[in-house]
């Protein structure tokens, strides 16, 4: 009984973890290239959720098609914020970019609240489910998981096979050297920032499959924290590390929920969120470079 439940939750955890991983790749990409920590990360996920909600509820467009739309919206937002603020702060002390990205997050939350209101919303996309024996997995979640893996693979190929991807990688290695070789470093920064925000907003679409009625302008805060745990698990500067960090985190979250549910007198959901904070502190304490880096 217990193991069936645990097994079922862990399968759900892998699917959720893949989406978590994809939702963190943008954060790691931006930190890896620009050395900027996007403290407003969760707000961009929230924007993706509202793009989905708007397209589905108002225009009847399937959430799967919302992914490219959200990606485009995110790229646009990324370019706007890069050229108006981030570009001017790259050389400034770290405090400036931390506070700036934080303020951008607050700004997005308030803008979305102005347009859509602050109540919790949701949408109902019924596509059936599959029975795996020990657990029932809605197909929408499965699509989200598969979509996340596909996007991760695409990003990997983009980095390895395209000119722009190689340029970004060279900037990460040595930005001055890249400049000497004629690479447009500013352009690589802008592209990476836009791409990172695009990925994050797109991940917001996929995450809505897991929260039936949890779409709200202030939903992002929890995801910011989770994304930091995941990013730190994967070494903060590596998008692929982030993806595998996400898988691990999905397993930990669902596994610990199953265990906490057996302790009488506690609220398991709240405890899993406390646990993610503890994990963050422990990793930062013992291995701030990430546990996935074999070095």
């Amino acid at each position: 009984m217990f193991f069936e439940q645990l097994g079922g939750n862990l399968i759900q955890g892998v699917v959720l973890g893949a989406v978590y991983g994809m939702a963190t790749m943008g954060l790691s990409l931006i930190f890896g290239v620009l050395k900027v920590v996007n403290v407003g990360h969760g707000a961009f996920i929230m924007v993706g959720a509202f793009v989905t909600l708007f397209l589905f509820s108002s225009l009847g467009i399937s959430p799967l098609f919302a992914v490219p739309v959200a990606f485009g919206v995110g790229m646009g937002l990324g370019l706007i914020f890069y050229y108006t603020t981030i570009r001017k702060l790259i050389k400034a002390p770290e405090l400036a970019t931390l506070l700036a990205t934080f303020s951008i997050g607050v700004l997005l939350e308030e803008l979305i609240k102005l347009i859509f209101g602050s109540e919790f919303r949701g949408y109902n996309w019924v596509v059936g489910k599959i029975d795996l024996g020990i657990t029932v997995l809605p197909l929408s979640k499965l699509y989200a998981g598969i979509g996340s893996v596909l996007i991760a693979v695409l990003l990997f190929l983009w980095f390895k096979k395209t000119r722009a991807g190689s340029a970004v990688r060279s900037v990460v290695e040595d930005s001055e050297g890249a400049q000497v070789c004629g690479i447009n470093v500013g352009g690589a920064y802008a592209l990476s920032f836009a791409l990172g925000i695009g990925l994050t907003v797109a991940s917001g679409v996929l995450l809505t499959m897991f929260i039936p009625v949890g779409i709200n302008p202030y939903m992002g805060g929890g995801y910011t924290l989770k994304a930091f745990v995941i990013a730190v698990l994967g070494g903060l500067a590596s998008p692929y590390g982030a993806f595998f960090g996400g898988l691990i985190f999905g397993l930990i979250e669902n596994g610990s929920y199953t265990l906490f549910a057996y302790i009488p007198g506690v609220e398991p959901f709240a405890l899993t969120r406390f646990l993610s904070f503890v994990i963050l502190l422990v990793i930062l304490l013992i291995r701030p470079t990430g546990i996935l880096r074999a070095k």
Binding site: F31, K35, V37, V39, T84, T85, K88, L89, A92, P93, E94, L95, A96, L98, L99, A100, F102, S103, I104, V106, L107, E109, E110, L111, K113, L114, G221, G222, T224, L225, F228, V229, V232, L236, F260, G265, V266, E267, P268, F269, A270, L271, T272, R273, F274, S276, F277, V278, L280, L281, L284, L285, P288
Partner: protein, 332 residues
């Protein structure tokens, strides 16, 4: 002779607090606005001790106000049965608030302050949420139901005194905390701690090479700032409104406000949090009347502009303007 000018920069700060107090005291209907302004100034002064002096940003700052609130709440609800303690229960509450916020800041600081810049910010961003979910999840101190202690407070002090405490004396104590925070800021700035922190803010590696124990000074600033926040929570939240609910006292909104106040006024200046608190508080007050719910929508872009265009804030600019004039000694 040399000792006197040392504390001159406190003159405008204390004068401003006295004016606020007198306006609230003597003008009909102004007390509520003044108490709000005092809270924002105190919040800014306390936050500035850490953010302004070290250049590190603590996104989980509100957690210290939260545990301070809990400290006072626990003292009142648990000690109400010992009637002989009387008003000492409040004093013990302040002590407990300080102890609890200090302990939390030591726990967080021990992990986070060994880390640099970005990693530090990441470590702190979950402190308030983490602590809130610990209280709710493990059902500590009544868990998510929180505590209401109006009746206990009435029993300890009597109905009239308790009412006077929440409508008047709590605000006076906020004023005292704001003044205390300003005083501590100046003492730190004028001592070895301030010089060490300035060195570390400018270039942490160079400061280390010069033999400054940067971690030690960061922890001093962090604990001081947390301790002041604990006191502020114990007065402005626990005594003023005698209840405590975890989602309310660990709300990140207050960290946002603290950041706005400090950056607006000028991080690392003595006068900055006061100016920022007044500007933000007055704007907040009138915006909540004319455009309710839009305060942050207006302030988020304002703060972005400040960070990009003039990161030194209002007081930082004033300082540059008055350099060489007679006013210079008063602005810091």
């Amino acid at each position: 002779m040399k000792q006197i000018p040392k504390y001159l920069p406190l003159v405008p700060v204390f004068a401003a607090y006295c004016v606020l107090f007198l306006i609230g005291e003597n003008m009909e209907g102004m007390w509520q606005l003044m108490s709000m302004l005092l809270f924002y100034c105190a919040l800014g002064q306390a936050f500035n001790v850490f953010l302004g002096m070290t250049g590190y940003v603590d996104f989980g700052y509100v957690a210290f106000l939260g545990v301070g609130t809990y400290g006072m709440a626990l003292s009142i609800t648990r000690l109400v049965q010992y009637e002989f303690l009387g008003v000492w229960i409040i004093v013990i509450g302040f002590g407990l608030a300080m102890v609890m916020s200090t302990l939390l800041s030591m726990a967080v600081g021990a992990v986070a302050l060994r880390l640099r810049g970005a990693y530090f910010a990441i470590a702190t961003i979950g402190v308030n949420e983490g602590f809130r979910f610990l209280i709710e999840g493990a059902r500590i101190w009544n868990g998510s139901e929180g505590m209401i202690f109006t009746a206990d407070l009435n029993k300890i002090l009597g109905r009239d005194t308790a009412a006077a405490l929440s409508t008047y004396w709590a605000d006076v104590m906020v004023l005292v905390i704001a003044a205390l925070a300003a005083f501590v800021t100046l003492v730190y700035m004028r001592s070895k701690i301030g010089y060490a922190l300035t060195a570390l803010r400018e270039d942490e590696d160079a400061a280390k090479v010069m033999g400054i124990n940067v971690t030690k000074f960061k922890i001093i600033a962090f604990i001081t700032s947390a301790c002041l926040a604990g006191l502020l929570g114990a007065t402005a939240w626990a005594l003023k409104t005698p209840y405590v609910f975890p989602p309310e006292v660990f709300e990140i909104h207050y960290t946002i406000e603290a950041i706005i106040i400090v950056m607006l006024g000028g991080a690392g200046t003595l006068l900055g949090p006061l100016v920022g608190g007044l500007v933000y508080g007055i704007a907040q007050y009138y915006l909540s009347i004319f455009l309710p719910g839009f305060q942050l929508l207006i302030f988020a872009p304002v703060i972005l502009v400040i960070i990009v265009v003039f990161p030194e804030g209002i007081v930082g600019m004033l300082k540059a303007r008055t350099r060489g004039s007679a006013l210079e000694r008063f602005i810091m």
